[in-house]
Structure formats: structure tokens, C-alpha cells
């Protein structure tokens, strides 16, 4: 009789504890897996969109090739059309619509991993990862400094044109809406000596030097850059014709 008095309350407590414990465990695991699932769908979404972009870029490339062929067919030896055709070629070159090659410089920017390790080891309280990575601003300022002297610019095989963007999205840099990873390689076609001097005299270069970021500049005899992969048609801007306004 005394035994029952002991056992029943204890058993009730046990049943309830077991119940609570499993429900709590289930809630926690549901919580964790929910986060993971959410991230996974977002990752899938981004990857799908990037694939879409790639296929669209490829179709733009093939359509442009077709246009080129049609234009060439129409211009067999006729003086004026041939002249216009040459002009189109020239303009395409300027607009970044053709693959180009020529002499120039390559600037390679890398994250300051050695410096980051040092600081992490010696005084971790001062460690701020932001100080040791290449930022979008560095690329932007270097490119801006070079724009005047450069005839063609590319970053990690992305051709820069008038409508190109260099943006920071979280921990990655996007150029032409494509994600890039370090090392960042800025390839510039132009007079190599002038280009190198321009970089060496730019504020951004001094800034990067002061932060001990590894920057290398090399003059090169031949650099080849791809054409812009996306489209840069003007849908809203209309040219002002003389005399109209």
C-alpha cells in the first residue's frame, strides 16, 4: 500500500516529463530544420536565376552573331554600305560588343589573409574581418582612375561597359550582376606605361598600400577580353535630334 503511494505520483511525473521532453526536442529540431530549409530554397532560387541569366546571355550572343551575319551578307562591295558597316564595327568595339585584345596591364587584388592571421593571433580584440578583404569600392575607384586612359576594361572576365555595375552584395562583389570571388583581376587594355603610372598615382592604390593589401600590377604585351555577355539596349532613352528642340 505504501509502495503505491510512492509510485503513482512518481509515475505521473515521469510520464509528463517524458512527454514534455519529446515535445521540446521535436520543437527544437523543427526549428533548426526550418532555418536550413529556408536557406536551401533561397540558395536554389539564386542558382536557378543565375542559370537563367547564363542561358539568356548565351541566346543574346547567338542572336548578335546572326545579326552580324545578316549585316555582312548585305554589304558585298557596295561603297556606302561598306563604309557604314565599318562604322558599326568601330562603334561595337567602343561599346564593348566585341572580343578585344591588345597590350595593357593586369592588376591583381587579393584579400590580406596573412595580415588577418597575424592580427587574429596577436591581438584578437582588434580583429575586424572587414579590414582584410577586398571591397567593391576598391575595384570601383581603381576602375574609375583608369577609365580615362583605358580602351577596354574587364574584371575576372567580365567586360566593363558604360552600363556595368560594381556592387557589394553581402560578402561577394557583383560585376555585371555576376558574382565574383577573390583574387580580383582587373585587366585593362591601353598604353601599358601610362596605365601603370595611373594606377601607381591613384589614391586608391595608396590606400590599399597603407592597409597592406596584396596588390600586383604587371604590364602585359597581350591581353584579351571577352565581349559584354548581357544586353545593353536603350529602351527608354531617346536621342535628341537637332532642330527638334
Amino acid at each position: 500500500m505504501l509502495n503505491w503511494k510512492k509510485h503513482i505520483p512518481l509515475t505521473i511525473a515521469c510520464v509528463l516529463t517524458g512527454l514534455l521532453l519529446t515535445v521540446a526536442l521535436k520543437t527544437q529540431t523543427a526549428l533548426n530544420s526550418e532555418n536550413v530549409n529556408k536557406n536551401q530554397t533561397l540558395i536554389d532560387l539564386i542558382e536557378n536565376l543565375e542559370m537563367d541569366t547564363q542561358t539568356l546571355e548565351e541566346s543574346i550572343g547567338s542572336v548578335q552573331k546572326q545579326i552580324d551575319e545578316v549585316q555582312k551578307q548585305g554589304t558585298s562591295g557596295q561603297g556606302m554600305v561598306a563604309g557604314l558597316q565599318n562604322q558599326v564595327e568601330e562603334l561595337k568595339l567602343r561599346a564593348g560588343q566585341t572580343d578585344v585584345f591588345g597590350p595593357g596591364v593586369t592588376i591583381v587584388l587579393e584579400d590580406n589573409t596573412a595580415g588577418a592571421e597575424m592580427v587574429k593571433k596577436n591581438n584578437p580584440e582588434l580583429y575586424n574581418p572587414e579590414d582584410f578583404i577586398v571591397h567593391d569600392k576598391s575595384l570601383l575607384y581603381l576602375v574609375s582612375a583608369l577609365r580615362g586612359q583605358a580602351e577596354a576594361i574587364g574584371i575576372n572576365n567580365q567586360r566593363l561597359v558604360a552600363s556595368s555595375d560594381i556592387r557589394c552584395v553581402g560578402t561577394v562583389i557583383m560585376v555585371n550582376s555576376t558574382r565574383l570571388a577573390p583574387p580580383y583581376e582587373i585587366q585593362v587594355i591601353g598604353n601599358p606605361k601610362i596605365l601603370e603610372a595611373t594606377v601607381l598615382n591613384s589614391d586608391e592604390y595608396f590606400f590599399l598600400q597603407s592597409k597592406e593589401m596584396p596588390v600586383t600590377i604587371t604590364q602585359q604585351e597581350e591581353i584579351s577580353l571577352p565581349a559584354l555577355k548581357g544586353s545593353n539596349t536603350a529602351n527608354y532613352a531617346n536621342p535628341v535630334k537637332e532642330g527638334e528642340q
Binding site: P9, L10, A13, G18, L19, L20, L21, V23, K26
Partner: protein, 123 residues
Amino acid sequence: MWLPLLGLILGALFGSILTVTVPIVYAKYLSVAVLAALDSLLGGFRGVLEESFDGVILLSGFFTNALMAALLAYLGDHLGLDLYLAAVIAFGLRLFSNMGFIRRDLINRYRLKKAKKAGEIHD
């Protein structure tokens, strides 16, 4: 002594069969409540071993502790204080001290039994 253990397993089984999940907002309070419940349970076992067990005290402690722990955590969240830490520390400490007492009680029992047996043989 098997009944409570069976109860624990039964409860766990029941909990995993039931498809009840607590809303995420209350997940923390539930965890604190579970800690309080575990503490009460161990306290009960200790009581059984030390022969000072009282079913009413156990059950009342079980419910009030679990409820108060959850309420304290809830209040803390609304005051902007991590008050649930107080519950975690208090119940955590008691859990460990109860476990220590249970261990000692069990060892003492075992030794007593052994000594009795040895005594019987000598007699």
C-alpha cells in the same frame, strides 16, 4: 521501481506519436519548463532513496516549478532581461546536486547490503 521508468518511456513514446509542436515563440519557455520538470523528477527519486518521499510535495513542486520557470522566462523576455538564465542556472545546479545525492545514496545502499551479507555469513 520499474513503474516510473515505464512511465518515462510511455510518456516519451506518447510525445513522439502526438504531432503537437509548440509555436517557435514558446520553444524557449518549454525548454526551461522541461529543465524544471527534470529537476523535480530527480528530487523525487532522491526522496524515495532517502525515505523522505511525499507524493503531494513532488507533484505540486513539479507543476509549480515548471510553470514558474516558463513564466519567469516569459516575463524576462518582456522586460528585456535574460531571466530564463536564472531558471537555467538554478535548476541546473539543483539537477547536479540531486544527481550527486542520488549517486551517494545508491552507493551507500549497495555497501550496506554488502556489509549485511558479510555479517550474515559471519553469523
